[in-house]
Amino acid sequence: MIGLDRRSRDILDEVRDLGRRYMRPIGLESDRSGLPPPAEHPFYLICARRGGLVSREVGEDEDRTDTGDSDDDPARLAWKPLRALLIGEESAYWDRGVALSLPGPGLGGAALRTTGTAEQRDRFLSVFTDHSRAHWGAMAMTEPGAGSDVARIQTRAWRDGDEWVLEGSKMFCSNGARADWVVVWATVDPALGRDGHRAFVVERGTPGFEVLRIEHKMGSRGYETASFALDGVRVPEANLLGGEELYRSREGFKGAMTTFNLTRPIHAAHGVGMGRAAHDFAIQFVRDDYPPQGRRKERALERLAAVRRGLHTARLICMHAVWLASQGRPNALEASYAKLYTPPMVLMAVSTALDILGEAGVRNDRMVEKLYRDVKILDIGEGTQQVQRIVVARRLFGLPRDA
């Protein structure tokens, strides 16, 4: 049976409190203005001072490779990625956009921890020990011409003396404009496919690194989605992620991919949170606005029960995938199950909530309308539904790469 320990409950209470007080209102404001909260927003400072959303001990920085923790009781250790998952779900309940905008090293941090050298980890992650103001890291993989097909990235990297030069452009980089540094993926030769990939840490202010724009999105406006150009950007040799050695084998690219085995279920868990928010709003609407008896109410409750079923199933799939990882067991298939099952189900959940609100649902000032615009991106980020189907088929019955 799935239950929570005391510590996890406390953490969730903390997230809930912050969500209610800050994340939800900030998210609604961002939705109205169309702009992410400014990097100087006081809430980010609050988070920075705490060293994360909830505490130093747990948070998005944490994954199972982070064994430097003083807490080495295996039973408690197994909880840590699960807590990250639950924090993700609960934060997204209040506002997923704002949750994604929270200070921290982000996906770039995951790449650094997985494939960076000790020197690089120290150099780029130490900035997050500065609690006097908010800091961000970011990762830039996607390009205007290559979404799911990451092997086709066109940003070029070449050596020039003891520097690397980067030329190209990137899109869909979360928190990319406010980040202290961005892990940028480039290729030394597009003809080599994934074998030609290299990752570099590019620091803000490096000449030629130019933010082109902050995207205007249908929803999920609480975080910054940046496009930028790399116009002859020069980075020192020491910023090649993992050092030259790493790229002799194919582990370079795979390194980045393995981080997805935790990020996919956590991303999916955001959906569970958003679906819960829509569900709760609709339940409250039925309580307040529906006639106390009759067909409409019965029907609404049946449909909400189906939403609840889907959400709890999704949550179990996500938790199971993360639990496997916490046991040191392979979870690539299960992580894709989580990411494949959840987003369409959550879209259905939010859409059902809209049906239950009826005409009232069309309005901006009822939160479900915003959730409907927010939620669709879940099925695209961290590998589209189509990519997940391919992964599942590959793992289950050996779908060839060129099928």
Binding site: S148, M171, M218, R299, D355, G361, R363, Y372, I380, R389
Partner: protein, 352 residues
């Protein structure tokens, strides 16, 4: 029997299609930002006599019929649906105007609507829900509400209560209004089953606009996915995506036929026209939701940006499934008809 449209309807739809491509589509995003279609577009659409198409001459209309209206709306919506709720008056409320026993009152409303000086809203009411207008177009000024509850019709004078920003149709502006305490200009008990005809006309309207949005979405998705290459071939040529597109296209095709059949029934005086219009709305809303969802999905991250129209169509498709009583009222109407409405071609054959 024939699936062919009358030549005059084909001509009308073709003209609307040209107008949509030339005048509506290019300015869709600007109109969305400004909350209205520009005056020159409004003028050219008035030249189509949009609001008058499905009104009889006695109410100032041109009596082209429901099918003609559906075809024209669909063609326009494929260019930009954003301003249609505002510009097509009495539009979704046409069934109430036609059903209103007080022809003088109906004539006054119709005249103001056709002149573009005021608008009316249709409110599909439910005994258990408080009556309010959650959303209506912001222009021309909202002056009347037709309230239909079962077979009871009322005409109410309303005052707009400020903007009500919504999921889509920003080019129509927005307003909310309360019906509590508003002056009631008339109340009528319509003949049995006439309520579903009134609601059915709003659903025909929504289905036609939805279908136009869906057709445009399918076309744009096919254009994008046959162009853009991932994993060494066009997105659409990955069989998994091709399968999804094929199913989506099939659903749209079926919805289009059902909608046309329903509109023709309404024009033919079929007493179950409202039932079939409601069925067409349900089928279309589902089909277009799938198409517009897929439209974002296969564009990937780009589908989520306002740079493409995919996200706008996704929002429009959803909003058309919520207005005028939404799915609850529609399901209730078809359920009520499911024992009494005869088969459309021949009576359903009873069990032996």
């Amino acid at each position: 029997m024939s699936f062919a449209l009358a030549p005059e309807i084909e001509d009308l739809a073709a003209a609307a299609g040209r107008l949509a491509a030339r005048s509506l589509a290019p300015g869709a995003r600007r109109a969305e930002a400004e909350g209205r279609w520009p005056p020159e577009v409004v003028e050219v659409i008035h030249s189509l006599a949009l609001g008058a198409l499905d009104l009889p001459a006695v109410l100032g209309g041109v009596a082209a019929g429901a099918l003609a209206k559906v075809e024209v709306l669909e063609a326009l919506a494929a260019g930009d649906a954003g301003g249609l709720p505002a510009l097509d008056q009495p539009g979704p409320a046409v069934g109430a105007v036609l059903a209103c026993p007080d022809t003088a009152a109906a004539g006054e409303v119709a005249a103001a609507c056709l002149a573009g000086v005021a608008s009316c809203a249709l409110v599909v009411a439910d005994p258990g829900f408080s009556s309010r207008i959650e959303w209506a177009p912001g222009w021309p000024v909202l002056r009347w509400a037709w309230v239909i509850a079962g077979d009871d019709l009322a005409l109410v004078e309303v005052a707009p209560a400020g903007p009500a920003p919504a999921l889509a149709f920003h080019a129509s502006g927005s307003t909310a209004a309360s019906l509590g305490g508003a002056p009631v200009l008339g109340r009528w008990r319509l003949p049995d089953g006439a309520g579903v005809s009134v609601r059915g006309r709003a659903r025909l309207w929504a289905a036609a606009v939805s279908l136009g949005v869906g057709r445009a979405a399918l076309e744009a998705t096919i254009a994008y996915t046959t162009e853009r290459v991932v994993f060494a071939k066009p997105v659409a040529h990955h069989q998994g995506n091709a399968f999804d597109l094929a199913v989506a296209a099939t659903g749209l095709h079926g919805a289009g036929l059902l909608l046309r059949d329903a509109a023709a029934r309404v024009d033919g005086g079929d007493r179950d026209g409202g039932f079939w219009a409601t069925q067409a709305w349900l089928e279309t809303i589902d089909a277009v939701s799938r198409v517009t969802d897929l439209g974002i999905q296969l564009l990937g991250g780009h589908g989520f940006l306002v740079d493409h129209l995919a996200e706008k169509r996704f929002r429009e498709a959803r909003m058309l499934g919520l207005l005028w009583g939404g799915r609850d009222a529609a399901d209730a109407d078809v359920a009520a008809g499911s024992m009494s409405v005869e088969g459309p071609l021949f009576a359903e054959t009873a069990q032996p």
